[in-house]
Symmetry: C2
Subunit: 331 residues, 2 copies
């Protein structure tokens, strides 16, 4: 049911029946080390290229997720997801061997949110939809920045692409599980940020806009949520979002946080925190889902954020547009 131009209330429930998470070794030393289902011993994952490692990560997460639920590939009706690598080859090559009907979606680090919203709608005629994203520090560095061998120093506003993947199954029947209640589809917001090493700044305005739209349309205040979790603004971006929300008279300082800002602990030198299409799926499918399952929290607004640039667009003088989609989940 449509509440406003961007916000929709689900009239038929969509349940997040099960999740699976796989974290890189450095990610597994961070704040959520006790929540990840699986941890890679090393970043290469016994593969001969970074890209093959990331493909293996998605395949691993999907196979473990199905095994946990006693399902086979044929029991999944749609493989829905994406990644940061050009032409989504990581997701396509992962989906290939499952023989599951496949849709690639892209919203940069907000891809997981887009897959959830499209999944809710596709599920009307399906039984089970699999949503997945991944990212890998080395595939992202090679594609967007410099070869790792150069040892380039990050700037103070930088975030580090997360090595990790999270996947979940949406269905209509798991009524003891967390459910998606409503969602808001984001508009692209571009305040003409041009610093490719400050993604939080580029994405925070889009996140503020989407959160405001969602709260207004749902007639809610931030206090109606246990947590409003963006991904992945990093610490600087999260603080920017807090500032932007206050300008909109939305006081959420103790309620908002960010997957990228939370994932590493203070001793881990990772700039402003984590980023990448796999960051928010990894954190949601481990920490946040388990908090919901245990009923430590009851309602969250999950707001993945994406910076819609390529490696080339800033070099051609383009600004960095941001987008965020919001998903209201409760148990």
């Amino acid at each position: 049911m449509r509440l406003s131009r961007q916000t929709f209330l689900l009239t038929k429930p969509v349940y997040i029946a099960s999740t699976m998470s796989l974290a890189g070794p450095y990610e597994a030393k961070g704040n959520f080390k006790d929540f990840f289902d699986y941890v890679m011993e090393d970043d290469e994952f016994n593969e001969k290229s970074h890209e093959l490692a990331e493909i293996k990560m998605q395949k691993y997460v999907v196979s473990k997720l199905l095994m946990k639920n006693n399902l086979e590939y044929k029991d999944i009706d749609l493989y829905l997801g994406g990644d940061l690598i050009n032409q989504l080859t990581v997701t396509s090559f992962s989906a290939k061997e499952t023989n599951i009907p496949y849709f690639g979606v892209y919203a940069a680090c907000a891809t997981f949110a887009e897959s959830l919203i499209v999944g809710c709608n596709m599920l009307l005629n399906m039984d089970r939809v699999l949503c997945i994203t991944s990212s890998h520090f080395a595939t992202a560095e090679r594609q967007y920045r410099f070869p790792l061998e150069l040892g380039t120093q990050p700037t103070p506003a930088s975030q580090w692409t997360i090595t990790g993947s999270g996947a979940l199954i949406l269905d209509k029947t798991s009524n003891n599980c967390p459910k998606i209640v409503a969602y808001t589809i984001g508009k692209i917001v571009d305040l003409e940020c041009t610093d490719v090493n400050n993604m939080g700044m580029a994405m925070a305005p889009g996140a503020a806009d989407t959160i405001e739209q969602h709260l207004i349309s749902r007639n809610q205040s931030a206090k109606d949520y246990d947590l409003i979790i963006t991904g992945d603004l990093g610490r600087l971006g999260r603080d920017t979002l807090d500032y932007l929300l206050k300008e909109k008279n939305i006081v959420a300082t103790n309620i908002i946080n960010d997957c990228g800002a939370m994932i590493f602990n203070k001793k881990q030198k990772r700039g402003q925190g984590g980023s990448g299409a796999g960051c928010c799926s990894l954190v949601f499918c481990s920490y946040l889902y388990k908090l919901l399952l245990s009923k430590d929290i009851h309602r969250i607004l999950f707001v993945p954020t994406g910076a819609l640039l390529s490696k080339d667009s800033p070099l051609q003088g383009d600004t960095i547009p941001g987008i965020a989609h919001a998903i209201e989940i409760e148990v």
Copy 2:
């Protein structure tokens, strides 16, 4: 309503209310010259880079489409589309200025089909969804192959990326217009083709699989269609598809054709024909839609095909997976 694992029948009608097409100058000298709504005077479109030209193409098509229907940006509920450029920057930068809620989707040259199927499902809670794709010969050559200035010779099996864009509006009320009746979501099919200059060969097996699934699920034969139109296998790929379908006992020689194979005339030296995410949207939104509107044809199976590679994946030794989604449209 679900007919089989991959095939779905629409129980609530989705109409293709209006289309708009913009062709490059060389495309406009081909077989469909009388069907395009607008033609670019030159490939650069008064922009200083190929990428800016392609962005302007999408913006132009969207603005002309809305103008033709007396609509404004606010009347469109979702901007749904994609392109071949890394991270879909062409589509994101085009959508940015419209302020329309935005989803990027990716299935290479089958992106238009994915946008139509996702659009049908999103439309359940919306009034109007805009589906769009584009491609540009020079942006694709620069990204996937070599700079134009090198003057590289194409191989005999090559196709040429189309400079063009097509967009359409899906709605639930235009009941005098062509409507989407059913669709089949493709699985990735990879017969381990490795020739990056023979995309038709890589994609034909996926097209054959999807067409077979659709006909079986709908209890139809090829003769139930006036046309089965793939996009973009090129001439060699179309003949390969014909051969593969015969192996499946589907005789469709005089019914199947391909957007890429049809777009150029015999005098135009363009290898096996056209390709690119904009090829099938351009041909559908001009020639095919007008044939349906005039009732020269009554039912088509529109089967865009995509090769899910990147520039890097073949260089790393990967094969070229193909996918095709089928959309049954009648008037």
